[in-house]
Amino acid sequence: MSTLLSVENLEIRTAGRVLVSGVSFSITAGERVGLIGESGSGKSLTALAVLGLLPDSMRASGSVLMDGRQIVGARDRDLVPLRGRSVAAVFQEPMTALDPLMRIGGQVGEVVRRRAARDGRKPGRAEVDAQVTALLERVALPEPGRVARAFPHEISGGQRQRAAIAMALACRPKLLIADEPTTALDVTTQAEILKLMEGLVRDEGMGLLFISHDLPVVATVAERALVMRRGELIEEGAVEPLFDRPAHPYTEGLVAAARAFDAALETAP
């Protein structure tokens, strides 16, 4: 398996403070990796650094090789062709992840058109519409025709997140980065979205970097997990052994907390 993403000794600092340090990991094509940690542990910053989208006030050093191209220190203009082709992202908040003034079909269609333009084609309106409908069907949205004509505020949170996933899929990326994509959703919807994402990633052969603070969620989706705390990577390994026999006390604490929570739920009347 070829290496899709290779992060070496990544460090992110802002005015005088180190936010992330010494993070190294890699993802091979088609591999599903979970990134776990509490709020403020640097998970999302690591993801932004991988995308080359850190805020102006932060500086990354070290090395991030995406599909063989160096991200750290690259100019934004040089990253534009890389994005979408190699990597796409789904974010936490489904309300702000979609442009409120654009119909769903328009937003997905824009990505389809961009992708086609990159391949040197200029698809007609009918072709774009057909692809949009196919993508919306792919993410199991009911009545794709109606959803395509709807504005984001006219559909539910779960549907919005499905639409956001459809947009990410429209890029046909090699790596999908999902930053807490189910945190804002209720438990039932969360389970559906997770199943959908896992299936899609498997079918399309995409790599997945799944960021979450939720252990059971990561266990559902990922094969391998990375645990972050205070900006450092403290443990990594295949999901099952990692959660069964955590080596680091922090991971042990996380697992114990998740177990205690489950137990509390089960004994509840």
Partner: protein, 287 residues
Amino acid sequence: MSGHDAMVSGNGRARKAALPWPLAVGGLLVGLHIVVALLTLVWTPYGVGDMAGGRLEAPSLAHWAGTDRLGRDLMTQIMIGSRIALLVGCGAVALGALIGVTIGILAAFATRTLDDVLAAALDILIAFPTLLLAMLIVASSDGASLGTAILAIGIAGSAIVARLTRILAKRVLAMDYITAARVAGTGWPGIARIHVLPNIWPTLIVNFALQFGLAVIAEASLSYLGLGAPPPNASWGRLLQEAQASVYTAPFGAIAPGIALVSLVIGLNLFADGLRDAADPTRRRSR
């Protein structure tokens, strides 16, 4: 159609049925001025310089708004004033929007240093009184004309548009869908065109109409000071200035241009309100 039916029909066509009243009333007032302005191109009751009646006549059937101190028909001059007001307003807002939106968008996308410089420059320009700026521009060109009035009012307005655009664009740029678009490989001109402009447009429209009203008032002020369009371009501001001398003996000379000015400005503001509601799909359903 009731609000309930509109809810049920979802994103359907119900919204077209009810025209919001500010849009209707505002559109009517502005439309009236536009019709009159166009009419003056082919017909006016009297020639603009014709001394058609007695001096300072009160309104009558022959002279609807009376006559001025030289016996010229006031209605004719007020109608031509509509044309001047709309022309200067349109020109100034278009110029202000072009300069303002461009600078605002650039500032929003710029690096921090450039952004700071632009923001400081805009603050200085805004702190500078519009009329003073206009006088400066008129003084530094060869005499007052329609062009200098448009240039002066447009530049003064552009600073406000630029600052508003910059703030609105920055707020949009902080959204996840912008990050998602960047991840999908959209360059910044694409993001500005596809996401930023449509999202800030409803607010900008309101501001433009407000600017239009302010531009009409600014034009009247410039003309009042003798810095606006020179005769025979009959401007409301000049009519008001001329009527000032005889305001106690012949008040209609000030009242009629005043009504024209107020009706256009109110119409523009109402129209802006209605337009904002129509342009923002999240507001449509509550109507």
